[in-house]
Amino acid sequence: MTHLTMEQLLSARDPVSSPGTQQANGHLESCAACRAELDRLHQRTAQLKALPMLRPPRNRWPQVRAQLVARRRTRRMTVSGIGGFALAASVALFYLAGSWTPSVGEAEAQEAIATAIAQSQVLENALGQYRPEHRVTDGRTALVISGLETEIAEVDRRLQLAEMRQRQDDAVLRLWRQRVGLMDALVSVHLTRATNAGL
């Protein structure tokens, strides 16, 4: 007698019928050896499901968190870069078109925004040198860093909205200055940590 192949046994095991399942079931009714084989297949599957849960050998969260922070920083730098580029481009466009000359107040505001953007970029670069995503920080420092990162993210969100509305007024200047302040604090935290840890 020809017994069922493994593929046929698997078809008979699975609840969703496939071509040949009926034939396989018919064979199983009359073949004790194949029934025993199907039973062993069920047992093996049950044993697979009962294998112990393997646990990670070490806590991988610090690496995941560092990557998330690095990703957020990259986004910030992009926003900062786009901000600077957008400002420069819009100013150049207006001047080249010759259709608009900013008033003294507006020109001062734009200059101040450009200065704040440049300061922000310098601080981003300074922060990048510490490579904070590769550093271990204690819980308290991590909490301070996390708070600052969250505040910066919120400022960035508001700056993005301002960019979309093409605003370049005092409110935008305040946001950029706030960003510079927060970035300065963030760099200081990393500088202090690096000094104390000798890294």
Partner: protein, 204 residues
């Protein structure tokens, strides 16, 4: 239709047990307190919420990755990649299925991606080089853990995803970029090997 002697009791019992086990594994067997609130906070970019999700699901994700990948290091990388993807895509999680099912699909894809990237030597013939010849197999009895470990990568992945995680052949084929019949034949070959290596083969 005649009743199948033996199957209703022995096979049927195992089938019910397996179905129940699959349901248990598919459900939220890795609870996360206040899951909806945590997910909402994660969507808003709260790193603590992402950490809570990580804490709740890191073990099942690692277990799945380790069962599919060859090395501990690969499994750890899959664990990391999975949660980076979770953090990135949590806004796209609509909450219409269980959170674990969503994370598990990400983890499975990452693990399979890792297999493809590493281009393991997965040729069956090559793998058989390391196995004793058929003549010696009468003396061979491995435990299931060791036998599973020795399966070629793709076969092992199919066995785990189908028999333990409960994915269908169609879903596995889609995740692997292969056909349904590929998944079916890999499963059949894997079980034939396991049967042999576990010393369960009955002489014809």
């Amino acid at each position: 239709m005649m009743a199948r002697p033996g199957i209703a009791t022995a096979g049927g019992g195992w089938a019910s047990f397996n179905a129940a086990m699959t349901r248990v594994l598919a459900l939220e067997s890795f609870p996360l307190a206040n899951a909806d609130a945590v997910v909402n906070r994660a969507r808003a970019g709260d790193p603590e919420a992402i950490e809570q999700i990580f804490e709740a699901f890191q073990v099942p994700v690692y277990n799945l990755a380790r069962r599919i990948c060859r090395t501990v290091e690969d499994a750890e990388d899959v664990l990391q990649d999975t949660f980076l993807e979770v953090a990135k895509s949590i806004r796209r999680y609509r909450g219409d299925g269980s959170l674990w099912a969503w994370i598990r699909t990400i983890a499975s894809s990452k693990a399979l991606m890792r297999l493809r990237r590493n281009k393991y030597r997965d040729a069956d013939e090559l793998h058989d080089e390391f196995m004793p010849s058929r003549r010696d197999e009468g003396h061979l009895r491995m435990d299931l853990e060791a036998a599973l470990e020795r399966l070629p990568e793709m076969s092992r992945a199919v066995v785990w995803l189908h028999d333990v995680e409960g994915y269908t052949h169609s879903e596995i084929g889609e995740m692997m970029g292969k056909s349904v019949s590929f998944s079916k034949s890999q499963l059949a070959r894997a079980h034939a090997r396991l049967r042999r290596w576990l010393g369960e083969e009955v002489p014809a």
